[in-house]
């Protein structure tokens, strides 16, 4: 348990570095976790070389979902969109540095799902968990 609430997670939950809605933005996507009603939106600014220059998230949810979103936004700064598309579940688990069961993993992966759906330019109906397998 105390593992699950590593200082980093609590800190990023309480004082996120990348929270807020970017306006204007080049990429926007949002989605919910139907189990708990958590909501995450991601806005990105991308330059003409497809590099992410700014990345923010917004929304509400548990510490795991919010902290993972914040850490993920930090990670994608400076990344090429093609690299963003390659991010996986393991990357998020590594960022958090903890082992998660299937339920909490869904919380942790919501931001990745939203981010990748945005990077791929998917429609709302095209999002599935396949993105974060």
């Amino acid at each position: 348990m105390d593992d699950l609430y590593r200082q980093l997670i609590i800190e990023r939950y309480k004082t996120p570095h990348y929270r807020g809605h970017l306006d204007p933005h080049d990429i926007f996507f949002e989605d919910d976790n139907p189990v708990c009603g958590d909501h995450i939106e991601v806005t990105l600014r991308v330059d003409d070389q497809n590099l992410v220059t700014e990345a923010n998230f917004d929304g509400e949810g548990c510490s795991i979902s919010q902290a993972s979103a914040d850490l993920l936004m930090e990670t994608v700064h400076g990344m090429n969109l093609d690299e963003v598309k390659e991010l996986t579940k393991d990357d998020v688990v590594e960022l958090l540095g903890i082992d998660l069961g299937p339920v909490r993993l869904k919380c942790a992966l919501l931001s990745l799902k939203v981010l990748k759906a945005g990077a791929y330019g998917l429609g709302v109906d095209e999002v599935s968990d396949d993105l974060v397998e």
Binding site: M1, I10, K14, V35, C36, G37, E60, C62, S63
Partner: protein, 410 residues
């Protein structure tokens, strides 16, 4: 039935899982509203069935088939006895509450409802008593009306009386909310429904495990419940219906057991209850269900209710001490053993996760009652629920655990 309280220690000793440790602490299981733990008698009965009597039921004449059939039908009788059905044949085995409701919607509903007909539900319903009616309403162009919850989280009787003027065909309501714990005045609701010419469906998923429920006294037309919430196995539930209604209903699924005779192009349906039990049922589960019903009946449902009531009262009192914690639901006198709460600035997942680290199992989310959470103005709650094996000491541990959550996120 006895009004004598049962011996707490001997009840706890019946449930082997309570020996389990989580995070090196003794398990405190406060999630019985989702599913109850199982006593040895249920586990052993199912084990014994597979080891000793396993066979498919009906039609076989060999010893095992006879035995298995007798055990399956005995279980029907045990379940019927718990709810005081006039005949065991009025109890149909299904997979769970959800399937029972879908069965009613897809058989009785399709046959008896037509465009413009009104069904009355409540804002407190579990998704399983909402979605089947939404689907049927879409299909048959029905009108759904909802009895609101009052400001003190009770069934709004005045609003209900007004809705009855619409001459509904069906009133389908929960006898106990799985979120608020609200116990609805089922007998009065049914009486008024009948006066208005409506049939009634009682969602007993939470009431049958926790309260004395007597279908004849209630005069309920349909009552539905799940074995897994009443110390029985998962995979089996029941639909009680009055015999004349069940007789008049078309079958649900087609296949073996639900037929009397089959020709290449036609069939004749079997009698109730087999008409609704197509295919090989969950036989071992039925056996476990019967034993579970008998186990509860032996404890005495009055005693079960009294025990939970005292826990609910104590929990409300203790939770009220915690600053910035709000419990949703009525006062203890109208409430079963459920406490759903929110804490300012804390997400239910985080609360549940930290409690898990203390060995305490609670549930976090919308508990399959999203519309009710909308009414309460929250997305999700943390829910602690109590059953026969829970104690006041466990509620104390819950309160301590919640203080720990506040400390970590403080």
């Amino acid at each position: 039935m006895t009004k004598m309280p049962f011996d707490q220690n001997s009840v706890r000793a019946d449930f082997p899982i309570l020996e389990r440790e989580i995070a090196n602490k003794k398990l405190i299981y406060l999630d019985s509203t989702a599913t109850a733990q199982k006593p040895n008698v249920v586990i052993d009965a199912m084990d014994e069935f597979y080891r000793h009597s396993n066979a498919n039921i009906h039609r076989g004449v060999h010893t095992l088939a006879e035995e298995a059939t007798a055990m399956y039908e005995k279980a029907r009788g045990q379940v019927a006895s718990l709810i005081n059905a006039a005949s065991a044949r009025e109890v149909i085995f299904t997979r769970n509450t959800t399937e029972s409701i879908n069965l009613i919607a897809k058989t009785w509903g399709r046959e008896n409802l037509a465009s413009g007909d009104v069904i009355i539900l409540t804002e407190m319903e579990h998704h399983s008593n909402l979605v089947p009616w939404q689907m049927l309403a879409e299909e048959q162009d029905l009108v759904l009306e909802f009895v609101p919850v009052t400001d003190d989280y009770l069934f709004d009787m005045d609003a209900y009386r007004k809705l009855l003027v619409l001459k509904p065909k069906l009133v389908a309501f929960t006898q106990m909310s799985n979120v608020l714990g609200t116990i609805t005045p089922a007998k009065e609701i049914i009486k008024l429904a009948h006066e208005a010419g409506a049939l009634t469906l009682v969602d007993g998923a939470q009431s049958v495990p926790h309260l004395p429920v007597d279908v004849q006294d209630l005069d309920a037309d349909f009552l539905v419940f799940s074995a897994h919430k009443m110390v029985g196995p998962s995979g089996i539930g029941a639909l009680y219906g009055k015999m004349d209604l069940l007789n008049a209903m078309p079958p649900f699924m087609g296949g073996g057991d639900m037929i009397k005779t089959v020709h290449l192009r036609s069939f004749v349906t079997n009698q109730v209850p087999y008409k609704f039990e197509a295919g090989t049922p969950a036989i071992a589960e039925a056996v476990g269900f019967g034993v579970a019903a008998e186990y509860l009946q032996n404890l005495g449902m009055d005693a079960v209710e009294a025990h939970e009531h005292s826990l609910a009262e104590y929990a409300l009192e203790r939770l009220a001490e915690i600053p910035s914690l709000t419990v949703f639901g009525p006062s203890a006198e109208h409430k079963g053993g459920v406490a759903s709460f929110v804490m300012e600035g804390l997400h239910p997942h985080d609360i549940a996760q930290i409690l898990d680290g203390e060995g305490i199992a609670v549930r976090a989310g919308h508990h399959c009652a999203q519309p009710l959470h909308e009414v309460c103005g929250v997305k999700a709650t943390t829910r602690a629920s109590f059953y026969i094996y829970n104690t006041k000491e466990e509620i104390d541990a819950l309160v301590e655990g919640i203080y720990k959550v506040k400390e970590i996120f403080g």
